[in-house]
């Protein structure tokens, strides 16, 4: 799910500093914790992801279930659902995004401060799902905002959402503070806000953001 390319010679998390993982594990076993600021930063951020409190369809019910005592998303530090985009780190697009709703979703995304992450939860948010061939459902929220984690399912169970969340935590911990592997929000040229589509006479205008979404070319059998 983490699609950042790994350059040659680069060791992913948790190597930090000049000692090997093995040596650090040995030290840990002896009660000595070594860390880097970068690692501490990632650890802290990844364990207090505050999701935006909004749901779009039946996937939202599973998201709510994930927050209840049985599944308890609080174990992963993401239990504080914020009712304001200004205070949220994570947008869980939980459910069918209709074309009428899409501009509002993009606007909420634009209102979230960096660093921010997006989970597309369920078949509808990924691709339109069972409504893919309809006239009124957006065929995937990745046409308008960048998605970090895709969780398939219709709807995904709370365990799947928790799995997606832990995947996102790994992704956050792997982000660097500087250099080519720097987190998106630390790169000065990376976009943070995306154009909100307009309501057109027949469809959204534009129907997708060409900077984010390019249709895959499928080979056609002759």
């Amino acid at each position: 799910m983490n699609d950042t390319p790994t350059p040659a010679g680069y060791t992913p998390f948790p190597a930090a500093g000049n000692i090997s993982d093995q040596e650090r594990e040995d030290l840990r076993r002896h009660g000595i914790l070594l860390t880097s600021l970068e690692e501490l930063y990632g650890w802290g951020r990844s364990n207090s992801i505050w999701p935006l409190q909004f749901g779009l369809a039946c996937c939202a019910i599973e998201m709510i279930a994930a927050a209840t005592a049985r599944f308890d998303i609080a174990r992963f530090g993401a239990e504080i659902f914020r009712p304001s985009p200004r205070q949220a780190d994570l947008m869980i697009v939980s459910g069918t995004v209709t074309k009428k709703m899409a501009p509002q979703v993009v606007r909420l995304w634009n209102q979230m401060p960096e660093p921010k992450y997006c989970i597309a939860m369920g078949a509808c948010a990924i691709s339109g799902g069972p409504f893919k061939q309809g006239y009124n459902v957006l065929k995937g929220i990745d046409r308008f905002i960048p998605v970090d984690i895709y969780i398939p399912g219709c709807p995904p169970r709370p365990e799947a959402l928790l799995h997606g969340l832990t995947q996102l935590q790994e992704k956050i911990r792997a982000e660097r503070v500087s250099g080519p592997q720097a987190a998106r929000h630390l790169q000065p040229d990376a976009a943070s806000e995306f154009p909100v589509p307009d309501y057109g006479a027949h469809d959204l205008q534009p129907p997708s953001n060409p900077k984010l979404f390019t249709a895959h070319v499928l080979p056609r059998k002759a």
């Binding site: 009124n136 309501y199 469809d203 129907p207 070319v217 056609r220």
Partner: protein, 222 residues
């Protein structure tokens, strides 16, 4: 409850200028309906609601139906006498006629006080293009408000006398009426992972035919 024929006869006696027709349903449900004259519909509706024997005080449902222009072939068997004096020949004569299209609003009425129903009313527009105005029955049954708006949104029937006739599902700038038979949905079929049937036909336009010698490499979704 009275039969539909009795209701029709009473309506015709009460409103001599109105046209009330019985439309039979040949299916097993046999849910027959009354086709009303659009001009007299509000008066007839008010009568049905207030008549002490009927008391149809609850409009449970308003639906739209699109009947596109239909070509009907009538076959008439004729016996043609043989000029040579032999037995008469039976010849089939086929005549084509065009049944003009129209839009229909269907109301399902029940009585809460007398516990009976349903009585089904139909209203038909003159055609599907410029004579699409029907009288609104929302002043008679408040419950018809949102459903008439939905019929207006998806079928394009204009209900005159409706207190708040706006689109309810699609956005205000939207021009089409998606539930009409001749509606053409926006062509966003550029990426269909497993197209088949009609979807395949529409998606084909977006997929270039493979170059003669190249081997296709399917891309992975990032």
């Amino acid at each position: 409850m009275e039969t539909l024929e009795q209701i029709r006869d009473r309506l015709l006696a009460r409103f001599p200028a109105a046209k009330v027709e019985l439309v039979t349903n040949p299916g097993t449900a046999a849910e027959h309906s009354l086709l009303l004259d659009a001009v007299f519909a509000p008066e007839v509706a008010r009568f049905l609601r207030d008549d002490p024997a009927l008391r149809l005080d609850y409009c449970s449902n308003v639906s739209g139906v699109d009947w596109p222009e239909k070509e009907i072939i009538d076959t008439v068997k004729k016996s043609v006498p043989d000029p040579a004096g032999g037995p008469a020949k039976v010849v089939e004569e086929k005549t084509k006629r065009i049944q003009p299209g129209y839009l229909e609003a269907v109301y399902h009425l029940y009585s809460m006080t007398l516990k009976h129903g349903p009585v089904v009313l139909r209203l038909r527009t003159g055609n599907r293009t410029d004579q699409v105005t029907l009288p609104s029955l929302t002043p008679v049954w408040r419950a018809a408000d949102f459903q008439e708006r939905e019929v207006f949104d998806l079928y394009g029937i204009i209900f005159s006398g409706h207190p708040d006739l706006r689109r309810i599902l699609m956005w205000d700038e939207f021009k089409d009426h998606p539930m009409r038979k001749d509606y053409v949905s926006p062509d966003d079929f550029e990426w269909e992972p497993t197209p088949h049937g009609d979807v395949h036909e529409r998606a084909k336009a977006h997929y270039p035919a493979p170059p003669p010698a190249a081997t296709p490499t399917p891309e992975a979704k990032p």
